[in-house]
C-alpha cells in the first residue's frame, strides 16, 4: 500500500502543447481517487505520468517517500488496467493472468498461488480453461482485472476500464470494482469521463479541465459546493441550470421574470459588491420544483411552457425556457405534464448557487 504525492506536475508535449499544469495532489493510502473531466482535459496524461508511460516535464512524483520521476514503469510497483480489455486471444484465462508474471520470471508455484488467489477474488474458477472468444465482455474485463491483481502491486491505475462495456454491464462492473477495492484496500487511481462513474465510485474526485485541476473533494462536497460553473455543470445529471440575470434589490432578475433571493444569501452577495450586477444563478434540476409546493413559494415562482417531457421511471425530466434561457427540471413522475403545456415552477433558491459572471467562480453565500 502507498501514498502518492504529485508536486507542481507539468506536462508539455512537443511543439509546446501544455497538457497538464500546476498539478498538486496528495493521494492517501487505500484511497479510491477518480480523475474526471471531458476529453482532452489531461486526466489520462496524468495517470500515464504516474505510471511512467509519459515523462514528467516539470515537478516531482513520489510513491511512498521515494521520488520516482526517473524510475522505469516496471519498477514503480503499479498495476494497470486499460480501456481495451483485450486479452491474449490464444491463451486461456489462467495463462492470460499468469503471462505477465512469466515474463517477469516468477517461479511456477508463486504464479499459481497468485493466479488462484485472483481467481477466487473475481469468481473466475469455472472459466480458467476458456479462451477469450468464449467469454462475455464482463468476463473479459474481470480477467483484465485479474491480470492486474496478480501483480500484487502497491497502486492500481485504471484508465476508463468500463467505457467499452454496455450500460447495464458498466453498472454491474462498477459495483464489482468497488467491492474489489474494499477487499484489497489497494490505493487506486481511476480515470473516467463519466461523472456518474466518478460520483459513485470515488472516495475523492479530482475534476479537471484544460490540464488544470478545477476541484478536489469528496463526491458530495463537489456536488454540493462546486468551485465554478464548469464543475457545477459537469458533475450532476441532468446538468445544473445556469441562468444569467441581474441582482436588483432583493431579486434575481431575468428581464420580465424575477425571483426573490433568500435574505442570508442576498446579504452575503450585497456585502461582496454584487448588488446591481449581472451574475449567474446555478440551480440543479431537482431544485426546480413543481406541484402544490409552488403555491408556498410565490416569490420564486415562474411560468414556463414545457418543450420536452422525458419519463425516466420514478421521475420526469422537463425541458423548458425562462426568458429565452434553457432550464431543466427533475420532478416526480406523478406530475402529469406533457410537452406544450404551460405550468408554474418554483426555484428552491436556498439550494441555489451564484457564480461571478467573469471569473465563473462560485460566490460563497453560506
Amino acid at each position: 500500500m502507498a501514498d502518492l504525492k504529485l508536486v507542481n506536475i507539468k506536462k508539455i508535449y512537443d511543439k509546446n502543447v501544455v497538457s497538464v499544469q500546476d498539478f498538486n495532489l496528495e493521494i492517501r493510502d487505500k484511497e479510491f481517487l477518480v480523475l474526471v473531466g471531458p476529453s482532452g482535459c489531461g486526466k489520462t496524461t496524468t495517470l500515464r505520468m504516474i505510471a511512467g508511460l509519459e515523462e514528467i516535464t516539470e515537478g516531482d512524483l513520489f510513491i511512498g517517500d521515494k521520488r520516482v520521476n526517473d524510475v522505469p514503469p516496471k519498477d514503480r510497483d503499479i498495476a494497470m488496467v486499460f480501456q481495451n480489455y483485450a486479452l491474449y486471444p490464444h491463451m486461456n484465462v489462467y495463462n492470460n493472468m499468469a503471462f505477465g508474471l512469466k515474463l517477469r520470471k516468477f517461479k511456477k508455484d508463486e504464479i499459481k498461488k497468485r493466479v488462484d488467489n485472483a481467481t477466487k477474488i473475481l469468481g473466475l474458477e469455472d472459466l480458467l480453461s476458456r479462451k477469450p472468444k468464449a467469454l462475455s465482455g464482463g468476463q473479459r474485463q474481470r480477467v483484465a482485472l485479474g491480470r492486474a491483481i496478480v501483480r500484487d502491486a502497491e497502486v492500481f491505475l485504471m484508465d476508463e476500464p468500463l467505457s467499452n462495456l454496455d450500460a447495464k454491464l458498466r453498472v454491474q462492473m462498477r459495483a464489482e470494482i468497488q467491492k474489489l477495492h474494499s477487499r484489497l484496500q489497494t490505493t487506486t487511481i481511476y480515470v473516467t469521463h463519466d461523472q456518474t462513474e466518478a460520483m459513485t465510485m470515488a472516495t475523492r474526485l479530482v475534476v479537471m479541465k484544460d490540464g488544470l485541476i478545477q476541484q478536489v473533494g469528496a463526491p458530495k462536497e463537489v456536488y454540493d459546493k462546486p468551485n465554478n460553473i464548469f464543475v457545477g455543470g459537469f458533475i450532476g445529471s441532468p446538468a445544473m441550470n445556469f441562468l444569467n440575470g441581474k441582482l436588483e434589490e432583493d431579486y434575481f432578475v431575468m428581464e420580465a421574470t424575477r425571483v426573490r433571493v433568500p435574505e442570508g444569501k442576498m446579504k452575503s452577495l450585497r456585502e461582496q459588491g454584487y448588488a446591481g450586477k449581472t451574475i449567474v444563478l446555478g440551480i440543479r434540476p431537482e431544485d426546480v420544483l413543481e406541484g402544490p409546493v409552488v403555491n408556498d413559494s410565490p416569490d420564486t415562482k415562474i411560468r414556463a411552457s414545457i418543450e420536452v417531457s422525458e419519463l425516466m421511471g420514478a421521475e420526469i425530466v422537463l425541458y423548458s425556457k425562462v426568458n429565452n434561457q434553457d432550464f431543466v427540471a427533475r420532478v416526480d413522475s406523478s406530475c402529469n405534464v406533457v410537452a406544450g403545456e404551460t405550468i408554474d415552477f418554483a426555484f428552491n433558491l436556498e439550494k441555489a448557487h451564484f457564480f461571478d459572471e467573469e471569473s465563473e467562480l462560485r460566490i460563497n453565500t453560506n
Binding site: 476529453s39 508511460l53 522505469p72 498495476a79 494497470m80 486499460f82 483485450a86 486471444p89 503471462f99 515474463l103
Partner: protein, 296 residues
C-alpha cells in the same frame, strides 16, 4: 568469405540455431547470406570493425536471434529487385507494421515473446535496433482479430512500456517490397513527429506525408492563407480539428468537446463569416485540415 575471414580472425564462429544467447565477448555480424558470425572483441581493433561493417551488418546481442522465416524475409527485403528464381513463396497477404518503444525500457526478447502470443502463427520481426523494428503480419483466414490499439493496452499492462505502431496496408505480392519497407520506416518516423497517436495507419498518415513533402515556405503560406486571422487562435483551431476528426458531426464534436451544440454551430458560423470557409463542407474541411497539419 567466412573461411577467408577466419584466416584473419581465428576466433570467428558461426552462430548455430537453437543456442539461446550470443556470447557477449564476441562482436556479431550478419552476412549477405544471413549467417550470423561472431569474432572475439579482443581480436578486433576499431579500424577492423569499421572495415567489417562496410560489407557485414552489425548484429546486436540483445536482439532475438533471427528465425529461419525472419532470415528469408530479411533476404527478400534486402534485394534491390526480386529475383524470379527467389525461393521465397508468399503464402498469405502480408503487411508491415513499424513499432517503436522507449529505448532501454524492455528487452527485445520479451517484446517478441509477448507479440508472438497475440497471433495464431509466429510473426516475423526485423529489428532496426533495440527499440524499433518491423513486424511482418500475415493475414490469416480464421484468426480472431485483435486491433493494434488493443495490442498496445495488453502489452502496456504486461511490459510497462509505451509502444507506437505504424500500420501498413496488406499486400499480396512481394514486388517492390524493398522500397515499401524503406518508405514505411521513413514514413513512420515522419508521422510520429506530427501525431501523438500511438497507432497510425498508412491511410491516416497520407495527409501528413503529403504536407511533409512540401517546402517550409509553402507550408507557412498554406496555413496563413487558409487559417487567416485564426492562425493563433488555439481554441478555435482545436475545435475545428475535433470537428474534422468527428467526421463533421456536430453532435459528436459537441460531446467530445463538452460544448453545447449551439455554441459549436455559432463558432463555426463565425469562422465562415470571417474566413469564407464553411468547414461543414467536405472540401473546405479538407483544406482546413491540411492547413492545420501544415501549421504543425
Amino acid at each position: 568469405m567466412i573461411n577467408q575471414l577466419r584466416k584473419i580472425y581465428p576466433s570467428l564462429l558461426v552462430y548455430k540455431e537453437g543456442c539461446d544467447h550470443l556470447d557477449r565477448a564476441y562482436k556479431w555480424f550478419v552476412t549477405d547470406d544471413n549467417k550470423i558470425i561472431g569474432i572475439r572483441e579482443e581480436e578486433l581493433t576499431c579500424k577492423d570493425v569499421a572495415l567489417l561493417v562496410t560489407f557485414l551488418n552489425p548484429y546486436t546481442t540483445d536482439l532475438p536471434v533471427l528465425t529461419v522465416e525472419e532470415q528469408k524475409w530479411r533476404k527478400v527485403i534486402q534485394m534491390a529487385e526480386l529475383s524470379p528464381t527467389s525461393e521465397f513463396k508468399l503464402e498469405n497477404p502480408y503487411r508491415l507494421i513499424y513499432f517503436s518503444f522507449k529505448e532501454n525500457q524492455i528487452s527485445p526478447i520479451l517484446f517478441k515473446d509477448a507479440i508472438n502470443e497475440l497471433f495464431a502463427k509466429q510473426v516475423s520481426i526485423l529489428w532496426e535496433n533495440g527499440h524499433e523494428g518491423i513486424i511482418i503480419e500475415e493475414q490469416m483466414m480464421y484468426e480472431e482479430c485483435i486491433s493494434y490499439e488493443q495490442i498496445i493496452d495488453v502489452l502496456m499492462s504486461d511490459l510497462y512500456v509505451k509502444i507506437k505502431f505504424f500500420v501498413g496496408s496488406f499486400k499480396e505480392e512481394l514486388k517492390d517490397i524493398n522500397q515499401h519497407y524503406q518508405s514505411l520506416t521513413k514514413a513512420a518516423k515522419t508521422i510520429f513527429s506530427y501525431s501523438n497517436k500511438t497507432v497510425v495507419t498508412y491511410i491516416d498518415a497520407v495527409p501528413y506525408l503529403l504536407i511533409d513533402q512540401t517546402e517550409l515556405e509553402a507550408r507557412l503560406d498554406i496555413s496563413k492563407t487558409v487559417l487567416q486571422d485564426y492562425i493563433n487562435d488555439e481554441e478555435t483551431l482545436k475545435m475545428i480539428e475535433a470537428f474534422v476528426q468527428c467526421n463533421l458531426n456536430i453532435s459528436e464534436t459537441s460531446k467530445v468537446l463538452y460544448m453545447h451544440r449551439n455554441s459549436l454551430q455559432y463558432r463555426l458560423d463565425r469562422f465562415l463569416e470571417k474566413t469564407g470557409i464553411d468547414v461543414r463542407q467536405f472540401h473546405h474541411a479538407m483544406a482546413v485540415y491540411l492547413a492545420l497539419i501544415a501549421r504543425k
